[in-house]
Symmetry: C2
Subunit: 491 residues, 2 copies
């Protein structure tokens, strides 16, 4: 069973690399970074360059901007080449035109740089001869070298612990999730969505074409990392399928792994060739891998964000029987259908439960006291009956998990005051008292006003570590997949 | 092929019922409405009562509030009973405790009221003897009567033409969509979502337990109504399956029908019994009905809103080959997989098309010139290359339809100015010039700022009649189902 170890608030620690242990320490906590190809135009380097990015994110190690035309970049001494730097260089970012990459890489090797992130694109993923040849060349250059490479064609590393990020918007606090991704833009989008939903990360790498350091290396490290409790991977293809399988299986034994394998379809596989030029593998092989390793399958980035909410915040759910509580019989029926599509059941409640519910529900209200249950969420606001109803449903022996849904638009429409506070009080009380796991769905509206309320409720739920979703569909799928993972663990 | 007949702006016409033609004229354009059970508490009647609702929505016929304890309600003369009103009463709304419903109904029949909407709940849907008996009693009362009943346990009618609504937020302009629903709260939620997304309605009815006027009656009327171009139905069960099938088939011949059949699963069917107490029918029968009538199947209200965008705004799509254009190779690969799951294809582009794309794309940019295509949406904003790219992809003979996606978060992050205007200009130009249907996806973010931009882009697309979606998943499913409908029509 997953413990809820997500830290409430954790400040950026002082830089303290354990330099001697492992190459991954240089990846995630480098003491110095050379930026090969920093722009001599300070404004440009500040807004879209790596020097600006690292400075603004608050990297505390030494930065060496490299540009033969500059003496100083953003207040830092600039160098002509890494060869002019006498201090040790842990990490270098190459952001040069592609034809200059091989020589820059050779310079890094000469200088004993530990890790090189090749940000530059234009290699095998172009599908053109020139790019493919260039990629072959750099693979040849690094063969047998102590200098390890991330990329090319990728965003590189996000390490809140190391003060390193490829987007200045990312959170400075660390958290329990490790994320590894072959896609850069998509990976950045995922991280922004996830951080906005309250997720925090121990580490993340966008590794693009992955010619050297690859998913199995990162996953192996994350599986042993104590900070990391959950791993999410976006992958298009693999170089060493056997090793990945072994590492994945081992990792799943100790922490859940979510995997988005893109390029499962014919169209997708052909799209992969122009993205990271990976070999996709057959659908059958991948389906077997999911089954044999207990890996949680994810279809898109948005789903990953929701699944991480469920996996991170829900305690173990011991069965597939769901109690649905919310206002609107039609929505309840649609949700019941959705549940069954995802392998969940909306069982009838016991006579005892229905009797208890009847006691607090006027039969002429048109409210259902059967599952799905409508209770305490009438047009006069959120009543005390609501928590009472949740408690009654949760105590039914037939029920394994509760999902409750709220439509903010109704309360706003009827001008109910104080309903948000009433609702949050009810949620907090329910989380404390309910004998079963429960999660909350805030139905979306179409106006800014409703969206603001949704964000407010969601962020309050985050603080209280209540699993909160923004559509029934998202909640039901996330709960169903989380239950499947728990079942796999039990076997 | 559907024409885009959605009116830009249409003001509420003066009331002008064609009283002699059909019972449906009394349903949708009643000249007078009695509210049986109006509250004598003016404040209450104004905020949650029917008198307040009709006045605020701007109903222009005569309103007769009925309450023996009041002389006047919200400035209108109040009556003790419908029997005290000497003028003709077209329509009555019964909003009394359930045990008073049978006598009120008898009074309406005595007075020759044409249509009675029984708003009151607490009948068969309770599953209790008392409610079931009461429903049987009212069915017996109205048998053979000229007075027709909507309900019980429902919201009733929304008719912008007749100035009648069960929610004062609904739009006053009419439009091409008719909506009939067994669910009241869910139906109201759908209408609010749909109106927010720019849909407008010719008529809508929430008919609940449907003991008299039923879905086949409403659908038959809508199929002949000239204003109505598309019908959406939410249904839980039927009394007369054969008639519904015939009417549905006939309607689909002249206009598309979207159907959300709730209660298809076991859990769903049992939820229906406590909602509208309908007989659900077997899954097999319903699946055959969808197939034989060409009805577009909908899974939830949110999907219906998206599907209506596609069906209403996209011209006929002649094949299943999609050109994807947007920034982010990983997102492209995920979308390619999604497309194939929904029966769409992301075909390779012709050599000629790729040559044209290469001419306007630097190969070192890391941007794909294969399908999915990344073009003109770099970190420096929306360039002229973007429309050019869309036009090149659209002119590929392999491509039947274009989907383009935008991530506002990127542009906001890089502080690009004027990108929204540039983007809208590009969309408008694309709509004018592209040789193939195209639609737009605005990827969602997590902040208010992004949501505001999303709403702004979406409403500008609405004005320009550009099909706009808020997730790739929604766009792809809507396009796929719309294509299936076009294929059915061709057969």
């Amino acid at each position: 069973m997953l413990k809820n170890t997500y830290p409430k608030k954790q400040l950026l620690p002082r830089y303290n690399a354990m330099r001697d242990k492992d190459i991954m320490n240089y990846v995630f906590q480098p003491g110095s970074i050379a930026i090969i190809g920093a722009s001599s135009d300070g404004e440009k380097e500040k807004s879209v360059g790596w020097t600006g990015r690292l400075l603004q994110f608050g990297y505390e190690g030494t930065i060496y901007p490299i540009n033969p035309k500059a003496k100083e970049i953003l207040g830092l001494k600039a160098y002509t080449s890494v060869k002019d730097i006498s201090e040790p260089i842990d990490y270098a970012i190459i952001t040069l035109p592609r034809h200059l990459v091989p020589n820059a890489l050779k310079d890094c090797m000469t200088r004993g740089v530990r890790v090189v992130h090749i940000y530059t694109a234009g290699f095998s993923e172009t599908g053109e001869r020139e790019g493919i040849e260039l990629q072959k060349e750099i693979i040849k250059i690094i063969k047998g070298s102590d200098t390890r490479v991330i990329g090319p064609n990728c965003m590189g590393v996000y390490s809140p612990m190391g003060g390193l990020s490829f987007d200045i918007r990312f959170a400075h606090e660390t958290g329990p999730i490790a994320f590894f991704s072959q896609t850069g833009v998509g990976g950045r989008r995922f991280l922004n969505l996830a951080i906005g939903r309250g997720h925090r990360f121990s580490m993340a790498v966008s590794y693009g074409n992955g010619i050297d350091l690859n998913i199995a290396d990162f996953l192996e490290y994350a599986s042993q990392d104590h900070e990391t409790k959950i791993v999410f991977i976006y992958i298009e293809g693999l170089r060493d399928g056997r090793r990945f399988f072994d590492v994945l299986k081992a990792c799943n034994r100790v922490k859940p792994v979510l995997l988005l394998k893109a390029g499962m379809s014919n169209s997708g596989a052909s799209a992969v060739s122009s993205h990271t030029a990976s070999l996709c593998g057959t659908k059958k092989v991948w389906e077997a891998l999911f089954k044999q390793t207990g890996t949680i399958r994810v279809e898109c980035m948005e789903e990953a964000v929701d699944l991480l909410v469920a996996v991170r915040l829900l305690p173990q759910i011991t069965g597939r029987n769901i109690g649905l509580v919310g206002r609107g019989g039609g929505i309840g029926v649609i949700c019941a259908d959705m549940c069954e599509r995802e392998g969940l059941i909306i069982p009838p409640l016991s006579t005892e439960t229905r009797r208890k519910l009847a006691r607090i529900t006027p039969s002429t209200s048109g409210s259902s006291i059967r599952n799905p249950v409508e209770i305490g969420l009438g047009i006069s606001g959120v009543s005390e009956r609501y928590v009472e109803g949740l408690e009654i449903v949760a105590s039914d022996p037939q029920i394994d998990c509760l999902i409750t849904f709220i439509n903010p638009e109704d309360y706003v429409h009827y001008g109910i005051e104080g309903w948000i506070d009433d609702l949050m009080k009810a949620f907090i009380e329910a989380k404390k008292n309910l004998s079963k796991p429960f999660c909350v769905v805030i139905l979306q509206g179409t106006s800014i006003e409703i969206f603001e309320i949704t964000l407010q409720l969601q962020s309050q739920c985050q603080k209280e570590e209540i699993a909160c979703f923004l559509s029934m569909d998202a909640a039901i799928r996330a709960v169903a997949k989380t239950i499947s993972y728990h079942e796999f663990k039990e076997e």
